[in-house]
């Protein structure tokens, strides 16, 4: 028995050492058309398996398997979004596996017209962008041209052309692009929605196959030649260049500070300048950010003044639609106020927190290194760090998992309680405005309250649509909610005064 034990130790030690030494062995050669992750999986089975695991143990499709509705959990959201597509269908996020599926089936897309820009963050789109871009530039866009190089200018051109086109038209184009595997061949990584949709009202018939278009895929974060991280999204290229040109200070992005010290003749280009560590956040900031995206204009990231909630607000306030009409996302159903919609500003909120300031990147927490045999690999099951506290946090924080969980819970709980408080203030405001109308307040008098309402709702939405429940920047989240409460209540007071007057 003892002998067996010793032998086993020996064998294990041998195996582990071998593992430690293995370099990449490329089974399959990749090029710039490989949006299908399966061939990549042949080279890097471990990352591929984890990537697939973002679907959970198995893919959960069908309407009954959609994530919980946020509108049901927080009924005040319906009043916040009144008059906007989000009031129809708005759910919890889930793993990357679902991003395309969930967008294709959401009633926001199927009951309201949406633009092609939506796909910027929900699918592997670079081949499509390049193809349309090359064509628009009058260059060859055959399979060989597509496979050759990434070509950011062409990608950007294609993105601009498609940005304001109708969603379903662009989705259709997307499915026709080469994805590096022969049509019909290869394993299907994720399930498709049932042909015709699981509810015929909800989805146009049989136009969409998950094997022909893919959610974010290896090629969207990695260079197929070097496997280095890279930026593929034109929205981010524009946004981060604008941020670099602003005055706001971000010592956590040293390459921006360096660019600023230079002559600024060329816009800041993350592909050339960003450090490997900065890239560990930038790849995520291609999508987990606030944006405008609808048919009236090209997708835009609003960072020209900085990433703080007020700076983004100011950006939207100063923005004009083409034709110089003032910008807004929607007119509020109850009050008619022009409002801004905040979407998942994870990158922006994180940038205001102490982790960001200390240089802790998204990937550090959401794709932590873990030991696999003798190697350290990044966990490609991108998920909540609470599922994985030991790898995600304990590398830096030498305290128990229980303690870490408690710390997160305290921060999140404070945020959640305050969020409900801000929501109550918001509904009180709407009630008061409604009442003022009944009291006979004039349109002009009521319009004078719109800016307060917009500021209140913008701040409430900013934290409520951010997905960390305040963890990414604890104090900043509370501050933003405090301001939301203040604006809501000031609008309420203004409305009450109208009643008193009339």
């Amino acid at each position: 028995l003892a002998t067996a034990g010793v032998t086993w130790t020996l064998v294990t030690m041998f195996e582990r050492r071998q593992e430690a030494k293995q370099p990449y062995l490329r089974v399959v050669e990749l090029n710039e058309t490989n949006t299908d992750p399966a061939p990549w999986g042949a080279n890097w089975p471990h990352q591929f398996e984890q990537y697939r695991a973002t679907a959970g143990d198995r893919f959960h499709g069908g309407s009954s398997a959609l994530p919980d509705s946020k509108l049901d959990a927080h009924p005040w959201l319906k009043r916040l979004y009144d008059g906007y597509a989000f009031s129809i269908d708005y759910r919890k996020a889930r793993g990357h596996a679902y991003m395309l599926y969930d967008q294709v089936v959401t009633e926001r897309v199927n009951k309201k017209p949406q633009s092609g820009a939506c796909l910027h963050c929900h699918a592997s789109t670079t081949v499509l962008y390049r193809s349309v871009g090359l064509a628009d530039m009058g260059k060859p866009s055959d399979a060989a041209a597509l496979a050759r190089e990434f070509d950011m200018p062409a990608v950007r051109r294609g993105f601009e052309v498609l940005s304001t086109k109708p969603y379903h038209e662009v989705l259709e184009l997307l499915t026709q692009m080469p994805d590096g595997t022969a049509p019909g061949s290869g394993t299907q990584t994720f399930e498709s929605p049932p042909v015709g949709g699981f509810d015929p009202q909800k989805m146009p018939e049989g136009h969409f196959e998950m094997s022909e278009a893919h959610p974010v895929s290896c090629i969207d974060c990695h260079d197929p030649a070097t496997m280095g991280l890279r930026i593929t999204r034109p929205g981010f290229m524009q946004g981060i260049a604008a941020l670099a040109a602003s005055d706001d200070e971000y010592p956590q992005f040293p390459s921006i500070a360096k660019w600023r010290r230079g002559d600024r003749s060329k816009p800041y280009d993350p592909t050339e300048l960003a450090s490997r560590h900065e890239m560990r956040s930038f790849v995520c900031a291609q999508c987990h950010v606030e944006y405008y995206c609808a048919s009236k204009d090209v997708l835009v990231f609003p960072w020209a003044n900085g990433l703080k909630v007020e700076q983004i607000e100011q950006f939207w306030e100063e923005k004009k639609f083409p034709g110089d009409s003032p910008f807004f996302d929607y007119l509020h159903g109850e009050t008619g106020a022009p409002l801004f919609k905040a979407q998942h500003p994870e990158f922006e909120l994180w940038s205001q927190g102490v982790h960001s300031r200390a240089g802790v990147s998204c990937a550090d927490c959401h794709m932590p290194y873990e030991r696999v045999g003798g190697m350290k690999l990044s966990n490609h099951k991108v998920q909540s760090p609470l599922e994985n506290l030991n790898n995600a946090c304990q590398g830096c924080h030498k305290v128990s998992e229980e303690d870490l969980r408690y710390r997160v819970a305290v921060t999140q709980r404070r945020t959640e309680v305050l969020l409900e408080q801000a929501a109550a203030a918001m509904t009180d405001m709407l009630d008061a405005i409604r009442q003022a109308k009944e009291c006979g307040a004039t349109t002009d008098e009521l319009a004078a309250i719109h800016p307060l309402q917009r500021k209140a709702m913008w701040r409430l939405d900013f934290i409520s649509s951010e997905n960390s429940h305040g963890f990414h920047a604890a104090q900043e989240s509370a501050r933003i909610l405090a301001e939301s409460i203040d604006y809501s209540r000031r609008a309420q007071a203004a409305a009450l005064k109208l009643c008193a007057k009339n």
Binding site: T3, V6, L10, T12, M13, E370, N390, N391, G395, K398
Partner: protein, 138 residues
């Protein structure tokens, strides 16, 4: 049978550079890849030219030293082989006490005022403040 055990054991010992537990060479600890990050962070620490692993992780006490070696040697090998241990590796309370003793052993004069006023009194944990002594940039 006994012979086989001793023979194979000795080979394993040698192959695994199990002599780590007998030698003072830090590289020997890093022989186990799970010790790599401890080794790397030790190399970045202010202490790497004044203290090796054993200076901090073995009791300065002559008998205690061998008991700690036996204890940790046995458990590390077992844990390593079965792969059954918490990652990242966490120091156990008793081993933490060993390092605290080691700090005081070397810095006794300097931290004289921090020693307990009365025998048996408690004292502050050195690594409460000196988080990265021994292992920097973790």
């Amino acid at each position: 049978m006994i012979g086989a055990f001793v023979g194979l054991g000795a080979f394993t010992f040698g192959y695994g550079k199990g002599a780590a537990y007998l030698s003072n060479d830090p590289a020997a600890c890093a022989n186990c890849h799970v010790m790599q990050s401890a080794f790397d962070s030790w190399q970045h620490s202010g202490h790497h030219h004044v203290a090796t692993c054993n200076d901090c992780h073995l009791a300065p006490h002559p008998i205690g030293k061998w008991i700690v070696k036996a204890d940790n040697g046995f458990f590390h090998s077992l844990a390593f082989t079965t792969g059954n241990f918490h990652e990242p590796i966490q120091i156990k309370p008793r081993n933490r006490r060993v390092t605290q003793d080691a700090c005081v052993h070397c810095h006794r004069d300097f931290v004289h005022e921090m020693l307990p006023a009365t025998r048996g009194g408690d004292m502050l944990d050195c690594i409460h403040c000196h988080r990265d002594v021994g292992h920097a940039q973790r």
